[in-house]
């Protein structure tokens, strides 16, 4: 991995990362691709990023697993950009930077004189990527947002959940994380514009728009062309009034994802029926079932779907997730466990692929296991070179080592609260 340390995809690129909460994943992607990402936190640390869950359940901002996970490979400094000294320091840093990533409310950086236009006067190559709930302008630009309300506004919430209960989200917030990843893509496109022209620009990311892409699939087009308004249907999937199909079933020790899809030429349904027959759990009528003609979602009755699905449901209840997955692989059946966090960590697939990475935490005197990088690149595999920074861990390195502030100046800046 030494080559990766020397030269990676984004070596030589510097990012100032002011993004908060889930949007921090944007800077992590840059850092994992080899960029020098400097996390800029307010003095005392970023409250939105240093949240639960915590290492050994100790609620300490320096022990946030959320922070750890999304800040690997970054360096960290503290800086109060609301002070005059803080703004000057930020401007000096911006002269050395290729990207600024931020997630403040629209107008916040403008009021401090640190918006794209101001920074581009100091550094015409700079790209400023702003991630906000609804974007920089427009009728809802001033709205406040939270992950749940952005699930709501993007349409993903209404389509998820049991019909007899309120719409429901995914308990670990997703909207801002999706927007952070989208922001990385937009920033890289702006980078290629800079390669062509030498100029930076402002990239304006909307969490709402991003999450529409994530949760729409084909619902907007189905509404426009067919008038369909997708409603939540528990674990069934299907557009319109038809019975749809179950996407998951209970088994002995949890749930599995399996859908009776009649795809000619795939062993999905046939292979499953054959296995059930071998174990004496497929009645004759099912073994001889005419899937192509009888299991047509546009004509079939709910009663018939229930009758067929029940045989599968009964069979799955006699097996564990592991037993089902093992046979699914052997028989080429499209079935996987509905993985719990425990299942994810124990899955053979990720172990074989060396997905899990051990990272030393000198400050905890411990080694923690992390999710691996998002990609496998043959030439620049990358690695987790350093754990997430402690609060202000690299202040001296950056302020003294790179910007040349003296220790007297730094002690003034520190006592005044600028750093």
């Amino acid at each position: 991995m030494s080559r990766a340390e020397k030269e990676s995809c984004l070596s030589g690129i510097r990012v100032l990362d002011l993004a908060q909460g889930g949007t921090q994943i944007c800077g992590k992607m840059f850092a994992d691709l080899g960029a020098d990402v400097i996390k800029v936190e307010p003095p005392g640390g970023d409250r939105s990023g240093r949240i639960a869950p915590f290492y050994k359940n100790m609620p300490d901002p320096q022990k946030s697993l959320f922070w750890f996970a999304y800040n690997t490979n970054k360096r960290g400094i503290t800086l109060d950009i609301e002070t005059a000294d803080g703004r000057e320091i930020f401007k000096r840093l911006a002269k050395t930077a290729d990207f600024v990533i931020e997630s403040f409310a629209p107008g916040y950086l403008d009021n401090l004189g640190l918006d794209y236009v101001a920074l581009s006067e100091l550094n015409p190559r700079i790209i400023v990527t702003s991630i906000t709930p609804f974007g920089q302008t427009g009728p809802k630009a001033h709205y406040t947002g939270s992950d749940l309300t952005l699930w709501a506004s993007s349409g993903g919430l209404y389509a998820t959940g049991d019909p007899d209960r309120p719409p429901v989200w995914t308990s670990f917030p997703q909207a801002y994380i999706h927007a952070g990843v989208e922001a990385c893509a937009g920033s890289m496109i702006a980078h290629w514009y800079r390669v062509q022209t030498g100029e930076g620009q402002h990239v304006d990311v909307s969490v709402e728009d991003t999450f529409v892409i994530s949760t729409d699939e084909v619902h907007l087009l189905s509404y426009e062309l067919l008038g369909h308004v997708y409603r939540r249907r528990g674990n069934r999937k299907g557009i319109g009034e038809g019975p749809g199909g179950r996407q998951l079933y209970q088994c002995k020790d949890g749930y599995i994802a399996f859908m009776l899809l009649v795809l000619v030429g795939t062993p999905n349904t046939g292979g499953m029926v054959q296995w059930m027959a071998e174990e004496g759990m497929a009645p004759d009528w099912l073994v001889n079932y005419d899937w192509v003609n009888h299991y047509d979602m546009s004509r079939i009755t709910s009663e018939e779907v229930d009758r067929v699905e029940k045989v599968f449901a009964d069979f799955f209840m006699t097996k564990t997730k592991a037993e089902l997955l093992e046979q699914a692989i052997k028989r080429n059946i499209q079935l996987v466990p509905v993985s719990t966090p425990e299942d994810v960590y124990n899955a053979e697939q990720w172990r074989v692929r060396d997905y899990w990475v051990d990272v030393e935490h000198d400050e905890l005197d411990d080694t923690l296991t992390y999710c691996g990088l998002f990609r496998r690149f043959s030439e620049t595999p990358g690695e987790i070179r350093r754990r997430a920074p402690l609060i202000g861990e690299h202040n001296m390195e950056v302020y003294e080592g790179e910007l040349g502030y003296s220790s007297e100046e730094l002690s003034i800046l520190k006592s005044s609260g600028a750093i």
Partner: protein, 422 residues
């Protein structure tokens, strides 16, 4: 605002970048969109003998089920040039090789092993074209016991641990109605290609990119997985609650299945919330602090629901947003379609197509201050055969005729009868 004083540029970001793509269905083409909409020249190889399932998916333009009338396909592909070739015929494979030699990027999203069968695996391609950026994406990744698992989006969400976290703790999980991991993974595909191209620009070196869509999904819940590894805590879905806010849920409003989502994180928002709703119970000490609100959350939610039911979801949204409390109507797809913000940003656009009526398509989640995306929609199958074969590859009329005769180039005549244009 900043954007107003910035002049628009004249070049497209990825002008000059050439992509040969065999990526099909969801994640691959959606990842290529990050290049196609921003100036790259993308040639997508398709075949009339093995049609992309998105071309065959509802809804269809004018309700005519034909391979060139799926707006979903048009949305997922964007301005790429389509050629129709059969890689199982020597002359079709020859065209693929010529395109690969022309390209900077080769992208594919087949089940691992498929490209090797065609002799188009990275090892072979890099011998001929050492600086190629070769993108492979599939559900589980190129290696491991599940490598060849070819599932749907709901399988990936389940395997990655996201489905388990969706729904109510006392009930079975409720999967998303969409392939949740697909759009997400496509972003990682886009970033992967764009950054590998940057490495190639500086060093002249290509490489093989293996993007496992499931691993992308796991990234998105990494802290939950670390909570298990580090603390032994295997989290479970918890409805709409969140540890740092109360109220934090979805509340019923006036009308048929109308709801609003309300989240109150701190004391400032709580005070603003109380002022707006003007209810006596808000003065009860058991709701005075975040900790006490969390401890009495069930009772709190009953009160908030009773209040919200007296108003439309739009009224609740307007009144709470006016005082800075995060709140939004739980939008149906109809609400999203009519959302003025998305139209203002040009995120939702009515776009033309070679044969279809204008339809409304989503674009990207970001806007650039100096350059606008090329928002043309996806191609007809084989629409750019002549341009690509002659202008890009320099094939002669005789070569093209021969490939047509021996089936290397496919045509409408190769379609199954049920799919032909009437």
């Amino acid at each position: 605002m900043a954007g107003k004083s910035i002049e628009m540029g004249k070049v497209m970001p990825l002008e000059g970048i050439k992509v040969a793509s065999l990526a099909w269905i969801g994640v691959g083409p959606m990842g290529i969109r990050y290049l196609a909409h921003w100036g790259a020249t993308v040639v997508r190889m398709e075949s009339h003998r093995r049609i992309d399932t998105m071309r065959q998916s509802r809804p269809f333009d004018k309700n005519i089920p034909q391979i060139n009338r799926s707006p979903w396909f048009a949305q997922a592909n964007g301005p790429v040039r389509s050629v129709s070739v059969d890689l199982k015929r020597p002359s079709g494979l020859d065209i693929a090789w010529r395109l690969i030699k022309w390209a900077d990027v080769l992208a594919e999203s087949f089940t691992p092993g498929t490209m090797a069968k065609l002799g188009l695996d990275y090892e072979n391609v890099s011998k001929v074209k050492p600086d190629i950026v070769y993108l492979s994406t599939c559900q589980m990744g190129q290696t491991g016991p599940l490598a060849k698992f070819g599932g749907f989006g709901f399988h990936a969400s389940a395997m990655a641990g996201i489905t388990h976290l969706t729904g109510w703790p006392d009930r079975e999980p409720t999967p998303h109605a969409v392939a949740f991991v697909d759009a997400l993974a496509s972003r990682y595909v886009g970033v992967g290609i764009l950054s590998a191209l940057e490495y190639r620009r500086r060093t002249g070196r290509g490489q093989h990119l293996d993007v496992s869509q499931c691993e992308c999904g796991i990234q998105n819940i990494a802290p939950v997985i670390m909570d298990y590894i580090t603390n032994g805590h295997s989290a479970i879905r918890s409805g709409n609650s969140y540890p740092y806010a109360a109220p934090h849920s979805v509340y019923p409003c006036k009308g048929d299945d109308r709801w609003c989502a309300i989240t109150v994180f701190d004391d400032i928002q709580w005070e603003a919330f109380c002022n707006v709703i003007d209810q006596e119970w808000t003065g009860d000490p058991k709701f005075a602090s975040l900790l006490s609100r969390k401890q009495n959350e069930v009772e709190l939610d009953v009160h908030v629901s009773e209040w919200a039911m007296g108003y439309t979801a739009e009224e609740v949204e307007a009144n709470l947003q006016a005082v800075g409390v995060p709140c939004h109507v739980v939008a149906t797809v109809k609400d999203v379609y009519n959302d003025p913000q998305m139209r203002h940003r040009g995120f939702l656009r009515e776009l033309k197509h070679s044969v279809m009526d204008e339809h409304t398509y989503y674009t990207h989640g970001f806007k650039m201050s100096k350059v606008e995306g090329d928002w043309r929609t996806g191609p007809l199958l084989g629409e750019h055969n002549e341009y690509v074969f002659k202008e890009i590859l320099g094939m002669t009329d005789d070569e093209i005729a021969e490939a047509l005769i021996n089936g290397g180039i496919t045509t409408d005549a190769d379609l199954a009868v049920s799919m032909r244009e009437s």
